[in-house]
């Protein structure tokens, strides 16, 4: 499938980028234990590092308007319908490559320290490398099918890693939950793919290749496109934890913290955003879907933020904040600012990874303690973690000249300028809440008097360099990564131009700089108020931290996550299990088995009659045989 694009050149270096982690994974799977656990981890990290280096090389070499392709072989060929196992790299993919491999590399390094005491960390690294492989497949695939394979693959790895400590039953349950919820999304996704293929096929175009799709989607009538995009978005919502399918992500925190950082914050959950950006040519043809996406994005952002306000589990807070940040991204997608969405993906990857790793370092130091009420005053014990955490918090809160500031404000500004004032206001409030819960967390964890129990306090220590180094790098990233996309009234954005060849000319309205600055100041105001609220309540953390028992109705609702899980349990899970048990008790034993056994019994009855033909006497058999032959011969004789 050679693309009609003039600037698309074959470049068979690409296949090595996903291949190296796969090979490392397979090698560790079979020889890892023989290799020695530390070495296995180092090998895994080295593999990801190698593909990171490749990614950087490709990034620098890639011409501005170019697409690099690497067709390995034709995978499916049925008539004119052809699917090749082939990779492509354009600007968008290049960015995603940098995120995936770069963050992935850092987190591999971090995991070397974090999992140092775990028994079967070889398995851990096998999974991790496998995940990198599938993620690269997802972002590099040049057709929907490969993207889907990667899509399912990362889902699988996420399931495996959430249930990594499978000795605790809750972890496995969480893994199942994530898997099942993702199934729902993927079902919609693959339905979308089917509809797309068949509809195009009806027009005579049998292809899944992105470039060809982009040329031909105009043929479809709008209703179809809307249907397709909605179905695809269901998939995106499942993978990126949007309403109403977000419930799996908080539970996914049961996995090891690096996993939460890599999969459930930086890379996998942004796959939905990537997919929409990759198929933007479809989505911009379906304004209705875009509106739906925008609404759902805003709602998710707000909703998750409200839940995050009251959580006490350090990772739960981060999880809900991830959900709400993803909501921001989809808000951007919804208002048609795909570039901005990807930009937020980019920045968010840095600071959210940094936050997760920081929390991981805290948990590591406390020997697995995750409840913020049992922390506090850790600032003194682990300075590096504290400062990096602070930087990341500032970034996510959107303090000026940090990454979050640029990306989030860009999203808000896009929303506003897109004319969706209501959504914009929701985003604004969410920004304030974000600041609040992040600083609440910061204060509860690092400030005030230390509430750590003596036993854990005894060996409270700063994490080793292999863990703190990634923290520092990510902290730096969470400041400077945003400077690529500065607004016009500063030095201006290089981001849009980079993505233009893929996403088309950016739709950012730079008309009224004054309005933009006013909007920004407004946001800053909300942020500052949120900070002050947190400062007042949680600076010298004492009674309030333990006071979730009381609190108003709103507090209860938020603390209990709006009872969403309970609701799902009541509305979906219970009826489903009831139906299942009905089938298991009534249908299966009585109808199915009844039929089967009935057939068997009838057969036995009849054979009881017929078996007397088997006299055991060879000559009788010969006689029967001859009789049959005679009948046949007579028949043919009649034919003659």
């Amino acid at each position: 499938m050679v693309s009609p694009e003039p600037s698309s050149v074959a470049y068979d270096l690409l296949r090595w980028m996903p291949l190296i982690p796969l090979l490392a994974s397979g090698f560790n799977l079979f020889f890892g234990r023989a290799l020695g656990k530390q070495t296995a981890g180092a090998l895994a990290a080295a593999a990801v590092g190698a593909s990171f280096a490749l990614a950087c090389y490709v990034f620098w070499q890639l011409p501005a308007h170019g697409i690099w392709r690497d067709t390995v072989y034709t995978w499916i060929e049925s008539g004119s319908f052809q699917v090749a196992l082939s990779f492509q790299v354009d600007a968008l993919t290049a960015v995603m490559l940098l995120i995936v491999t770069g963050i992935g590399f850092l987190i591999h390094l971090y995991s070397l320290g974090y999992m140092a005491h775990d028994e079967d960390r070889v398995r851990f690294f096998v999974y991790l490398n496998l995940f990198i492989f599938f993620m690269l497949l997802l972002v590099m695939g040049d057709n929907l099918l490969i993207l889907f394979v990667g899509w399912e693959g990362v889902g699988l790895c996420s399931y495996l890693l959430i249930g990594f400590w499978h000795h605790d039953h809750n972890n496995t349950i969480a893994g199942n939950k994530a898997f099942i919820v993702n199934r729902i999304g993927d079902f919609g996704f693959i339905l979308g793919i089917f509809v797309l293929v068949t509809e195009l096929g009806r027009q005579g175009i049998w292809t899944l290749d992105f470039v060809e799709l982009q040329q031909h989607v105009k043929m479809l009538e709008p209703a179809t496109i809307t249907l397709i995009t909605v179905l695809l978005f269901v998939g995106a919502a499942g993978k990126s934890a949007q309403l109403p399918l977000f419930v799996w992500l908080p539970d996914a925190m049961a996995g090891p913290t690096p996993v939460s950082a890599l999969i459930h914050a930086a890379t996998m959950v942004t796959a939905g955003v990537y997919m929409t950006a990759r198929l933007h040519f479809l989505f911009i043809l379906a304004p209705a879907t875009l509106a739906l996406i925008a609404v759902i994005g805003a709602a998710t952002a707000f909703f998750a933020a409200t839940i995050a306000l009251t959580q006490n589990d350090i990772k739960k807070v981060l999880a809900y904040s991830t959900v709400s940040q993803l909501g921001y991204m989809f808000l951007a997608v919804g208002v048609g600012a795909f570039g901005t969405a990807i930009f937020h993906v980019f920045t968010h990857a840095f600071f959210k990874a940094c936050l997760f790793l920081g929390s991981g370092s805290v948990i590591h130091a406390l020997g697995g303690e995750q409840d913020m009420r049992k922390m506090g005053g850790l600032k003194g014990f682990m300075p590096v973690t504290y400062w990096t955490y602070l930087v990341a918090t500032l970034a996510i809160a959107g303090v000026p000249f940090t990454a979050g500031f640029f990306s989030k404000d860009l999203i808000l500004w896009q929303t506003f300028s897109h004319g969706a004032t209501g959504l914009w206001s929701i985003g604004l409030i969410t920004a304030g809440m974000t600041t609040f819960y992040m600083f609440r967390q910061l204060f509860m964890v690092f400030h005030g008097e230390c509430r750590v129990d003596a036993h854990a306090k005894a060996h409270l220590h700063e994490s080793p360099a292999v863990m703190t180094l990634p923290l520092m790098i990510l902290a730096a990233g969470s400041i400077f990564s945003g400077w690529l996309g500065a607004p016009e009234y500063l030095w201006g954005s290089r981001w849009e131009h980079w993505l233009e060849p893929v996403l088309g000319v950016s739709e950012v309205h730079h008309d009224s700089v004054s309005t933009e600055m006013i909007i920004t100041l407004l946001t800053l105001g909300v942020v500052v108020s949120g900070f002050l609220l947190a400062f007042v309540n949680y600076r010298k953390t004492g009674a309030q931290t333990g006071s979730q028992a009381g609190g108003g109705l709103f507090y209860q609702i938020s603390f209990n996550k709006f009872y969403v899980d309970e609701f799902y349990d009541l509305a979906i899970v219970r009826p489903f299990t009831a139906l299942a048990s009905f089938f298991a008790r009534i249908i299966d034993p009585w109808v199915i088995d009844g039929t089967v056994n009935g057939v068997a019994t009838t057969a036995r009855r009849f054979s009881n009659i017929w078996r007397y033909l088997q006299t055991g006497n060879v000559q009788h058999y010969a006689a029967m045989f001859l009789t049959g032959a005679l009948a046949l011969l007579a028949y043919f004789l009649g034919q003659l």
Partner: protein, 100 residues
């Protein structure tokens, strides 16, 4: 002059006689002999056809039939011997352990 179907009918008759032997004899050795008789009837048709159609293939196939017949006779007789050792009889109708 002798036409082809004379030979065919002759062989049909011989074949039928062989069938009688297979069906009614109560001595395994004779049953085996009757099978040989049937094989010969078939050979006769082969040769007759090869003569009347003027092709060598019929004779070649007779050659193969002979090879198979030899193998069949050898194995059959070996089986008969071992059966006779176990139950001092050659009557196929007494060997009905496999009935219903």
């Amino acid at each position: 002059m002798v036409a082809l179907h004379h030979y065919l009918i002759l062989s049909a008759v011989i074949f039928a006689i062989g069938v009688i032997g297979v069906l009614i004899r109560r001595n395994l050795i004779v049953v085996l002999m009757s099978i040989e008789l049937m094989l010969n009837a078939v050979n006769l048709t082969f040769i007759a056809f090869s003569r009347y159609l003027g092709s060598a293939d019929g004779q070649v196939s007779v050659f193969f039939v002979m090879a198979v017949a030899a193998a069949e006779a050898v194995i059959g007789l070996a089986i008969i011997i071992s059966v006779f050792r176990h139950r001092q009889s050659l009557d196929p109708q007494e060997m009905q352990l496999l009935k219903w």
